[in-house]
């Protein structure tokens, strides 16, 4: 195991790589972390995710806009790709798989991709159906993979109307499956009315929620480490 100063150096490199959307720095940092035997989970949460938290703050302060967010997410992925194979299964009470996609008739998937990132970081198995996905595909895929969570996204009102059909069908076959909907036309009222379990309004809100959720995971992890 590398000594403390070296460890901090690597974590800072990962963190700053995400904040400054520098893919090469993230890749380099991740490789160093692996080569020097740093715990991969630690590198992800105290390096990459901690950077993404700062990005979320910069976004709220309107220092960063959507292009920067996407580039930061790309940098995070560059590091994650290298670290992931070295991850031990995290025991945080959250594990499992999720089916995600943009519903039929809609090709807007920026928000969906950001939400997908959150699940990737959290260690979920993600079945990404992409965009313009036929409604029945969601139902079939959920049954096939037995996923605990299904996420539906739409940006247009016209394509959003397909959501309640999917929710109904899935709940009918599998009442325990959680369903989240997202996109500009959705609202908490609609989510309640249709029987969905959660919602996020747009890419930026999805990102805020995503960061909150990952930050929460990180907190859980820290508390667990303290107890040991």
């Amino acid at each position: 195991m590398a000594d403390e100063t070296r460890k901090k150096e690597i974590l800072d490199k990962l963190r700053n790589g995400v904040i400054q959307y520098d893919e090469d720095a993230c890749r380099e940092g991740a490789q160093e972390a692996v080569a020097e035997g740093l715990d991969a989970n630690e590198a992800i949460f105290d390096g990459l995710v901690s950077g993404m938290e700062e990005v979320g703050r910069l976004f709220e302060a309107q220092e960063y806009f959507v292009p920067e967010i996407l580039m930061c997410a790309d940098a995070l992925y560059a590091g994650l790709e290298i670290l992931k194979p070295h991850c031990k299964q995290m025991d945080l009470g959250v594990k499992g798989s999720v089916v995600i996609g943009t519903v039929e008739g809609d090709v807007h998937d920026i928000g969906k991709n950001l939400v997908k990132m959150m699940f990737d970081v959290a260690g979920f198995t993600v079945y990404d159906l992409g965009r313009d996905v036929p409604l029945d595909k969601f139902v079939d895929e959920q049954l096939k993979t037995d996923s605990e969570l299904v996420c539906l996204s739409a940006m247009m009102t016209t394509s959003m109307v397909g959501m309640p059909k999917v929710i109904e069908k899935i709940k009918e076959k599998n009442p325990n499956c959680m369903i989240m909907i997202g996109g500009a036309p959705t609202s908490k009222e609609l989510a309640d009315k249709w029987g969905a379990d959660g919602y996020a309004e747009d890419a930026s809100n999805a990102l805020k929620e995503a960061i909150k959720m990952v930050a929460f995971l990180k907190k859980l992890r820290d508390e667990k480490a303290q107890k040991k």
């Binding site: 806009f65 959507v66 292009p67 996407l70 580039m71 997410a73 790309d74 992925y77 998937d109 990132m117």
Partner: protein, 213 residues
């Protein structure tokens, strides 16, 4: 803010043309703050290095803008787009033709490509969007193709319709891209290469410019 310095810098690094356009009206919500489009063109003699060269110029422009305290977003050349990245989604929200016409470097020809007075359609383009308040060049708002219809007559797929482009009627279809695509994919299947490009080579602007240089 003076755009001249940036133009000179990029031209010294090997850009054939550099222009700055006010692209406010063409921006989608996600990037509405980046209202200056820097169009960069390289005269391609179709070498492999052209794209790499353009990407390097974009990186230099980004660095210059950052050093002056401004944000930027590079829209890479069409043939250098990685499919698997998140940022790629934003690229198709903005096209190089907008930046090129807004900065007055060319108009959209009957062949549907940017035509520059000196180099014709033989240019490869890249765009850097920025929020730096650079002085914008005078835009090109109508076609200068005139009566010339060489590209219409030479197009083997009949895709080039012969309509004149004008900002007053932006929705008019100039090239039937489905015909062009089906010809090219047919040839690709047969020979492994699309092997067309007549509309580029017959254009008098492409020929004169290329020959004189």
């Amino acid at each position: 803010m003076d755009a001249k310095q940036l133009k000179q810098f990029l031209q010294a690094e090997g850009a054939t043309l550099v222009g700055v356009g006010d692209v406010t009206k063409a921006l989608p919500k996600e990037i509405v703050h980046l209202n200056r489009g820097i169009a960069i063109a390289v005269n391609r003699n179709l070498t492999r290095e052209t794209v790499g060269h353009l990407v390097r110029l974009q990186t230099l422009a980004e660095g210059w803008l950052k050093a002056n305290g401004h944000r930027s977003l590079s829209i890479p050349p069409d043939s250098d787009r990685r499919k698997d990245k998140l940022i790629t989604k934003l690229y198709k929200l903005f096209c190089h033709k907008t930046a090129a016409t807004c900065s007055g470097l060319g108009w959209i020809g009957k062949n549907g490509l940017i035509i520059n007075e000196q180099y014709g359609s033989k240019l490869t383009w890249a765009t850097v969007l920025t929020d730096a308040p650079l002085g914008a060049d005078r835009p090109c708002v109508s076609s200068r193709c005139g009566d010339c219809d060489l590209c219409v007559r030479h197009c083997p797929s009949g895709a080039v319709q012969g309509h004149l482009w004008s900002l007053r009627n932006p929705l008019r279809e100039i090239v039937a891209y489905d015909k062009c695509r089906s010809l090219k994919s047919g040839r690709t299947a047969l020979k492994g290469k699309p092997n067309c490009g007549f509309c580029v080579t017959v254009c008098p602007y492409s020929r004169n410019g290329g020959a004189r240089k």
